[in-house]
């Protein structure tokens, strides 16, 4: 302790010499405390506590691939999402229309939904249930300690599950001019939530735009 009791050695009162030395060694620390509180407040307020998070996306590099002859994909598995303004999402299952006749055929399938948990998530999750349950049970087993593997090997296990997946949806994300940036992030996020193995952001074609013109508002 910095405070030294001034009365120490009080028994030697008779000696004049000693008395002269009896200055209080106490230092007033109040200004120091003031300054420190100020600095602490300053640093506390300027600290950026929550670092921003990032979400990685991979876009198909289409510079060298002939896009007219894309890989053959099962029409039944193809889920087309078309993002539009006012937080609307249109979706249909099947091949995108390539001519006016297709437009008529696809129109019947076109449905409208939104970004809520009963909207797009329900649709995607229903198509992806098999894979989702597989990933979910693996994750749960690690959390509860049933299987003892590290977080990294869990991630690589999930990756393998996703690679082997043969029945889940292939989601094509398209958007018209009215969509907001938020919408695309929401959809990609939804893909991550539902553990969708295959999805891509692709350009909308002219027939789909035609389809949208008559879509339910």
């Amino acid at each position: 302790m910095a405070e030294i009791i001034a009365n120490e050695g009080g028994g030697k009162k008779g000696h004049g010499k000693k008395r002269a030395k009896k200055h209080s060694t106490h230092i007033d620390m109040t200004p120091m405390v003031d300054l420190m509180s100020l600095l602490i407040t300053f640093f506390m307020l300027t600290t950026a506590f929550s670092k921003p998070k990032i979400m990685e996306i991979v876009l198909p590099d289409n510079s060298e691939v002939d896009t007219s002859k894309g890989p053959e994909i099962e029409a039944k598995r193809t889920l087309n999402l078309i993002l539009s303004g006012d937080d609307k999402v249109y979706y249909y299952v099947g091949k995108p229309p390539q001519n006016d006749k297709d437009v008529e055929a696809t129109r019947v399938n076109l449905m409208k939904t939104d970004y809520s948990k009963d909207g797009i998530r329900k649709i995607v999750l229903k198509m992806n249930m098999l894979l989702y349950e597989k990933v979910d049970s693996a994750t749960q087993e690690v959390i509860t300690g049933k299987t003892k593997i590290s977080q990294d090997s869990l991630l690589s296990l999930v990756k393998i599950y996703k690679k082997k997946d043969k029945r889940g949806p292939i989601v094509m994300i398209k958007s018209d001019k009215k969509a907001k940036y938020r919408n695309i992030v929401d959809v990609i996020d939804e893909m991550a939530i539902c553990n969708v193995a295959r999805y891509a952001i692709v350009d909308i074609n002219e027939f789909e735009l035609k389809l949208l013109e008559t879509a339910p508002k």
Partner: protein, 216 residues
């Protein structure tokens, strides 16, 4: 007599432990602080479930503001002695016929993100404070027409990549920005062979109860 003695006791409080504690806290905050970088524009990012934290070094950031303007920022990479930022600026200057003095280059290195076309770059650097700089932030031109001729964002990305191969790209867009604008940015990144990049988001936890979805 003992009662009287009580009155004589000093009312001073021993502040030493308090000072000790404060010093400790102060040291902690000083060491953990990383100052919020001054950004030219406020961007309200959308939410995602991603838990990956953004790298704070070796990154070039493209901002898309609410009113669809594009801002750019590039750091010096892992080793700040390489002065990547200055090199990129010099290269841009060469392209658009602007020469910068040594003082301007040093000033530019200290500044953060910008949304300035090259023709205003000199005045933006020379401006005396942030308020004055504000008016030059009209967004980086990135016209995709004319075969990327006056696409300054494309050049910024290109030269940043040229001077720092390992640099990562991140897009920080406002949720209310148009997708069209984001698409232009994505296309530019693709053009520069950056098909893998990051989107800055806020974290938001999502829990799924399978029972809600299993019916039917």
């Amino acid at each position: 007599m003992p009662k009287l003695k009580m009155h004589h006791a000093s009312p001073r409080i021993d502040m030493t432990p308090m000072v000790d504690l404060f010093t400790l806290l102060l040291t902690f905050f000083m060491l953990t602080t990383s100052f919020k970088p001054t950004e030219a524009v406020i961007v309200d990012t959308p939410n995602s479930i991603s838990e990956k934290t953004a790298p704070d070094k070796n990154i070039m950031m493209i901002y898309i503001s609410k009113d669809n303007k594009i801002y750019f920022n590039v750091d010096n990479g892992l080793d700040s002695t390489t002065h990547v930022r200055v090199k990129v600026l010099e290269e841009m200057g060469k392209q658009y016929g602007v020469t910068f003095t040594a003082k301007e280059k040093a000033e530019f290195e200290k500044l953060g993100s910008f949304g300035v076309p090259m023709k205003d770059m000199k005045s933006w650097i020379d401006a005396k404070d942030g308020v004055e700089r504000e008016k030059y932030n009209t967004g980086i031109p990135c016209d995709t027409a004319n075969n990327y001729k006056d696409n300054q964002l494309n050049k910024w990305v290109l030269y940043s990549r040229f001077h720092n191969q390992g640099i990562e790209a991140a897009v920080k867009g406002d949720g209310d920005a148009k997708y069209e604008t984001a698409k232009i940015v994505f296309d530019i990144l693709l053009e520069n062979k950056l098909s893998r990049f990051n989107l800055t988001t806020n974290m938001e936890k999502v829990e799924i109860k399978l029972g809600d979805y299993k019916g039917k």
